[in-house]
């Protein structure tokens, strides 16, 4: 389990893959989608965004689309990126199921209220 945890994507990288799962997007659209998906919990600046995009591009999890606009670059998920996103999501799904079995989600919800 510890090996699987250490191989997991950082939060920003995961959110970028999630944002690109719907359609190809340019940098600012990715940023907006991340904020929307995380209900404003994940807020990133241009430096963190493009640093992570570079890393994901180097790892071939995303790719740059042939130029649509001269001003912006668009990125899309690759097959490898989609598989990676799937494995991350299945881990989270397992974690959420476990939390539900242990009634942790309900407890935390009760506390926050």
């Amino acid at each position: 389990m510890s090996k699987q945890r250490s191989n997991m994507l950082p939060a920003v990288a995961f959110n970028i893959l999630l944002a690109l799962s719907l359609k190809p997007r340019h940098g600012y659209e990715i940023m907006q989608q991340i904020e929307q998906d995380s209900h404003g919990r994940v807020i990133i600046g241009p430096g963190a965004l493009y640093g992570t995009i570079k890393q994901l591009n180097d790892d071939q999890l995303i790719e740059e689309l042939p130029s649509i606009s001269s001003r912006r670059r668009y990125y899309r998920l690759t097959k490898k990126g989609l598989d990676r996103l799937g494995s991350e999501l299945s881990y989270f799904e397992h974690t959420v199921k476990l939390a539900q079995q242990r009634k942790l989600l309900k407890q935390n919800f009760g506390r926050s209220r």
């Binding site: 940098g27 600012y28 940023m31 807020i43 990133i44 600046g45 241009p46 430096g47 963190a48 965004l49 493009y50 640093g51 995009i53 570079k54 001003r71 912006r72 670059r73």
Partner: protein, 208 residues
């Protein structure tokens, strides 16, 4: 200068602190994204600038660290690594003794490594040796590097040979500090002379 460069001149200038390859690929995109954020009426401009001012130093540090680590593992020749390590070790006593002295509330002034002869070794001789070795290796690297660059561009490419650059800069700092210190008013301005006439220099330090 592009339209975005002139709109955010300071941010555009700061982008030059990123590694060249990163800046060439993502510099314009970063400016465009900043412009998009500021043009978005749902966002507060102060918030955008606040977030950017936090994001930029973190991102700069991360990208430069990745860059230098990558250079060290893929481009730096073994002899540069070895010389950097050796000359770096020559600087170590300076930091150890100064730190120990500071930690013991300057009680080490009476100990053996604070006698003038020993001071001359770790304060002047060792940093000067480190400086000479590192500089000579840097010049050798600059003249033998297999890249389509001139000797002079290699010589000033400090980031590509950062381990030696760090040693050179630190040793220059130590030597400057040594000669600027109030007890060194009697040391002549040439380290070679200072080593050559070490008896009179040490006598001068001892008696003020």
């Amino acid at each position: 200068m592009s339209k975005l460069d002139s709109r955010f001149p300071l941010y555009a200038k700061l982008l030059y602190l990123y590694p060249q390859s990163y800046r060439q690929k993502y510099g314009h995109e970063m400016l465009q994204t900043l412009a998009d954020m500021l043009d978005d009426t749902n966002r507060s401009k102060t918030g955008v600038w606040f977030r950017t001012s936090l994001d930029l130093p973190c991102s700069l540090t991360k990208e430069n660290l990745l860059y230098v680590t990558n250079i060290l593992s893929h481009e730096t020749p073994d002899y540069v690594k070895r010389v950097s390590l050796f000359s770096g070790l020559l600087l170590l006593p300076f930091f150890v003794f100064i730190s120990l002295n500071a930690l013991t509330a300057h009680n080490l002034y009476n100990s053996w490594f604070w006698i003038p002869k020993v001071i001359a070794i770790w304060l002047i001789f060792m940093p000067t040796t480190a400086f000479l070795i590192a500089t000579a290796t840097f010049i050798y690297w600059a003249s033998h590097r297999r890249a389509n660059k001139s000797f002079w561009s290699n010589l000033f490419d400090f980031r590509r040979n950062w381990p030696l650059s760090i040693v050179v800069f630190i040793s220059v700092g130590i030597i400057t500090l040594a000669f600027g210190h109030d007890s060194v008013h009697c040391i002549v301005n040439n380290p070679i002379n200072e080593i050559h006439y070490w008896r009179s220099t040490l006598n001068c330090i001892k008696h003020g």
